[in-house]
Symmetry: C2
Subunit: 392 residues, 2 copies
Amino acid sequence: MEGIKDRVAIIGMGCTKFGERWDVDGLDLLVEACYEAYEDAGIGPNDIQAAWLGTVGSFSTGQPLAQALKLNYIPITRVENACATATDAFRNACYAVAAGIYDIALAAGVEKLKDSGFTGLALARPPSTEVEPAVPPPAQFAFAATRYFHHYGIPYEEGKRILAQIAVKNHHNGALHPKAHLRREITVEQALKAPMIAWPLGLFDCCGVSDGAAAAIITRPDIARSMGRDHILVKGLGVAVGGMQGLLLDDYDFVHFPENLAAAQRAYEESGIRNPRQEIDLAEVHDCFTITELIIYEDLGFSPRGKAREDVEAGSFTVGEGDLPVNPDGGLKCFGHPIGASGLRMIYEVYNQLLGRAGPRQLKKADIGITHNLGGRPGSFTASVAVFGRPS
Amino acid sequence: MEGIKDRVAIIGMGCTKFGERWDVDGLDLLVEACYEAYEDAGIGPNDIQAAWLGTVGSFSTGQPLAQALKLNYIPITRVENACATATDAFRNACYAVAAGIYDIALAAGVEKLKDSGFTGLALARPPSTEVEPAVPPPAQFAFAATRYFHHYGIPYEEGKRILAQIAVKNHHNGALHPKAHLRREITVEQALKAPMIAWPLGLFDCCGVSDGAAAAIITRPDIARSMGRDHILVKGLGVAVGGMQGLLLDDYDFVHFPENLAAAQRAYEESGIRNPRQEIDLAEVHDCFTITELIIYEDLGFSPRGKAREDVEAGSFTVGEGDLPVNPDGGLKCFGHPIGASGLRMIYEVYNQLLGRAGPRQLKKADIGITHNLGGRPGSFTASVAVFGRPS
């Protein structure tokens, strides 16, 4: 098998303002994101030969994208894959373009979460043999936090402070992004004093619930060059799905997530990345909870096992201070997590950073960036890792 | 752009018994279909490098396939695209294999419809801006029947008799298939006297509601040859999605479905098919209602506009009599329509016919076969056409 490296280029992207978008519906959000992407790519709707729509509960087929964008009679595939939905829609689009089936394709992701109540989609699932977890996500990741603290002998107060520093970092970054939902800085003190959600995770350890959409227009690099468009290249794509039901397994350790390792392994192999900490300039990772981001640092090879807290305290992942800024746009913490949109929202930040268009958030060095998603439940996660680079 | 022609081979397929499968759940159905496919391909679970799961309402992510088959940490994408769900899952798998990303991939589709009540999934959808149609599918296609009769000046009794002949044909074929749900012949008289469902469509003009699963294992043709496996080749894949809301449009004609034309055009172009009636040996088409099959004959180029009834009366699509047998396995009429499985169930029949394994249903000439799906609503259908051939 061969990898995806340098076979697909992103020539345009769009992203809506994320937040409580009571003013619009899911179709409006798709129009907002996709028309920004069209303009950025210098193309129009008639140039799109095929599309992929990522959404978890807002729509069931590819048809709403056709309706929103007035795309008649092209192929549109709808992909749903837990919190990796948008990235997997993007990934499938990449394979079709890499195979030469289409020259220009669109990958879009959208979710309206506010309309379906504070819990988002969890209670709106159709009946199936997938029983809703008795242990909802904050509690699942609270298990990870307590276990991580126990496993590495971290006292509660110290653990809480490490997690708070991650929240403070992401809120600082998000405050600078005009499209973020929660645009305000917080202090460690505020995070520590916030109401408890699932012990030891407090309010600021949890991401928000938001509406949003994002979109990417992709083509082959030779076409991107002939069009004369600024673009970035896809370097690696990895997805891994776990088949166990982790909460039921006595030996599930909750201090690492094997799906992250498998997805990263594939994406790094395709990209030729051997030393992630040295070679990656920025990462957008799935900070659904602060403890998730902490564990991700280790799963993705940014920090040795058990040592991520030292990197947090050293500011290694902080914009301006560290060598590997993580979530420079504010992450799920500030954008919330409109599930079908999040992966493409992350790619949007990497795209802008690599092209030098990130404004007040622009990093000095941004040659290689990655995105990461993790969804589902412990033992049966879906993880995705995507690596992007600038054309040489 | 280049097509998919001869770049992907199917080396194994499986299909469950379709019907009222109260004895098993969706995971069991996946095991049943996929293990038949493994055995047929001469491989085991560890050979699968990536998978695609098509399902409409039975599951929401790719994870249940990992759980059912104990596939740990490979990529699994879940695709949903109305009645073309299974075919679109298969199509995305084909693009990844054609791009060289994976050597061996699995596409599986499943649906448990009986568990969710007689109407299947319609009432189990999560809340969204997609309002459930006030006009349910039987009534939507009843519009097509009444309009078709009117447009071509066909008296009611004559029209009903044409539709009945399609049902009789499919029931005859299905009676010979051990995996069909409704295995019995019917007469034209029975069809004409059956209870009305949505005038002029009676009970035997409508497909059944069933549980089932089907699966395909694909690879590149060079690998299939080196493995020494019997296989068929993918010749063309077309999908087309309509962006209108047809029932709201005054000028929607209901005597052709443009999504069918666009999907067939792409699939025929990729395959090099110029005269479908002459070049295609068998077709599995989406006979959700008998009138749908009648219109499909014209949309796919089997019959000139308005002339499909003459071909029906001449037996052109009947096994043993006609030059282009349609639905030799009994179609949706006899298999029912477990939505996420149907497209792969159709491919299963084409696969077995092309390999000469169709037993009592075996056609004398079976070199080129196609499958077709049509789902959604008039004006906003998703149509798929897939073309398969034997290696030369």
